[in-house]
């Protein structure tokens, strides 16, 4: 089976500081991978590399079996960022307009959306349960609702892989569970490969198929059952002082 993501001995430096060292990782099609690690462990850098926002310095990355430097199918990849710092909540755009913007790449430069494409937006909004909010301004919604809209924006271009960067920051606890249930559906029913950076490892341990623990180096990468069996000493060595946060959820 083709790997959706294949990282081969990837290292990355900001100026002289090593942020990622020698990362090798494979994500098979249909996987639900959680990337965990303390702050400053290089998680965001890794996502930025995968999204093409940073250029590979050392090693190589393949997406859908193609080298990332010649990869031209960004519509195959959806991206949901950390809500809190990704947009200005006073922005005058309706939910419909935000989701439509997810089709930009598919529609292509210099063109406007067709009727079919607008219908597609309505269908996706319906599937995430946000259809009735389509004419509301995005800033009027709660954090959880906004995040559903951003999932819809990622889904509308029918991606095969969705990358999520701590998507539940700023979402209240009650809606976090719902949000992860929705991700599970996308993974199991639509067979979309998911890569999720998160701190909520306890909440999702029964939904994910793979775990990667990152702290500059990749400490562990296997299926999630193996992760649950990891003993405390191993977790401490990965997380250092933050180990209690992790156990709190278990």
């Amino acid at each position: 089976m083709v790997n959706v993501i294949k990282m081969n001995h990837v290292s990355y430096k900001y100026e002289k500081q090593n942020v990622l060292e020698d990362i090798t990782l494979e994500v098979p099609k249909g996987a639900f991978l959680a990337i965990v690690g303390p702050n400053g462990s290089g998680k965001s850098t890794m996502l930025k590399l995968l999204l093409g926002l940073l250029r590979v310095q050392q090693g190589s990355i393949e997406l859908f079996g193609q080298d990332i430097r010649s990869f031209k199918h960004s519509e195959k990849i959806g991206f949901v960022s950390q809500k809190a710092n990704s947009f200005n909540t006073g922005f005058p755009a309706t939910v419909f307009e935000v989701v439509l913007s997810g089709l930009s790449r598919k529609i292509g430069l210099f063109r406007l959306a067709s009727k079919e494409e607008r219908q597609k937006v309505l269908n996706v909004l319906d599937s995430v349960g946000m259809l009735e909010f389509r004419n509301k301004n995005i800033g009027e919604l709660s954090g959880g609702q906004q995040q559903r809209v951003f999932i819809a924006r990622a889904l509308v271009s029918e991606p095969e892989l969705i990358i999520l960067d701590e998507p539940t920051v700023g979402v209240d606890a009650k809606n976090v569970q719902q949000f992860y249930d929705m991700l599970e559906e996308l993974n199991k029913e639509l067979h979309i490969t998911l890569v999720l950076v998160t701190h909520d490892i306890g909440v999702i341990s029964d939904k994910i198929t793979h775990v990667a623990c990152l702290n500059k180096h990749l400490h562990f990468h296997g299926d999630s059952r193996a992760f649950n069996a990891l003993n405390e000493n191993e977790l401490s060595s990965i997380y250092g002082h933050e180990v209690q946060i992790l156990h709190h959820h278990h």
Partner: protein, 279 residues
């Protein structure tokens, strides 16, 4: 004024220019405001003044460029200033707003020097600062019409990309929007529209035409398209109303247009507050 409109070419020029500017300045202004670049308009208008002063200086001292519309040099300076701001913003990554006072003071400084070398100009500089109905020539009108066509076509063609870039820059880049190219076109458009609006509202007030109608519209509009439509309506109301008022009361048109814009802004805030209280 209605009868004057049929009689006097200068009134026709001012009026037609006003109608064009009243639409494109707020239209582009929507993107300027949501990208939090409102002050860039101010900085560029001062650079435009330097360009105009330079053109008038060359004409007076050297006799070259006589007959050449100072608007061209103003546009040139404005575009150069815009590119320079972009350069500075990437140099001072963590203090991007620094680019604005640097360019703004640079623009005023240059203007002051050009004006002093020339020992003043015959042309009424006052009309460049605060706008004038009688100063708009037929050539100005054609130049402004050309700029407007460029801006409208560019916004139409790059609408999706401009929207995405304004809403969520990181997402735009990740989804393959040619961010640098789109931003470059955008900043050129801003520079050109500022140079074009200057004739009617004047250098000191140009940025208000890009920001005030948008500020009013953002309070009451639902969504981005509606924000654009209301901004243009408010912009037109302020410009057309302001030109009529300034003609009859013999006030500077720039000032009248700006005060009308502020009145519209206050009304939209009031309207929103009343609606919130009723609902």
């Amino acid at each position: 004024m209605i009868s004057g409109l049929f009689q006097y070419e200068f009134l026709q020029n001012a009026f037609l220019t006003g109608i064009i500017i009243g639409a494109i300045a707020p239209l582009l202004g929507v993107f300027v405001v949501v990208r939090r670049l409102s002050l860039i308009a101010d900085a560029l208008s001062h650079v435009t003044l330097a360009g105009i002063a330079f053109s008038l200086l060359l004409e007076k001292k050297l006799g070259v460029l006589s007959g050449l519309n100072p608007l061209y040099m103003g546009m040139g300076f404005s575009v150069a200033g815009a590119l320079f701001i972009e350069r500075l913003r990437s140099v001072y990554k963590h203090y991007q707003e620094l680019a604005i006072p640097i360019i703004l003071s640079g623009g005023i400084g240059l203007s002051a020097i050009f004006i002093s070398i020339a020992h003043g100009f015959n042309t009424d500089l006052f009309s460049y600062l605060f706008g004038s109905v009688s100063a708009v020539t037929r050539t100005d009108l054609w130049i402004i019409l050309g700029i407007s066509l460029f801006v409208i076509v560019a916004i139409r063609l790059l609408f999706k990309e401009l929207f995405l870039l304004s809403f969520d820059e990181e997402h735009a880049k990740a989804s393959g929007v040619p961010a640098k190219f789109v931003h470059f076109i955008f900043i050129i458009m801003v520079a050109l529209v500022i140079a074009a609006s200057m004739r009617i509202v004047g250098i000191l007030l140009v940025s208000s035409l890009m920001t005030l109608p948008v500020a009013a519209s953002i309070r009451i509009a639902k969504g981005f398209k509606q924000t654009m439509i209301y901004s243009v309506i408010f912009g037109e109301a302020a410009v057309v109303g302001g030109l009529f008022l300034s003609y009859y009361l013999d006030w500077a048109p720039g000032g009248t247009i700006v005060l009308l814009s502020i009145l519209i802004l206050l009304l939209s805030i009031l309207y929103k507050n009343i609606r919130l209280r009723i609902l």
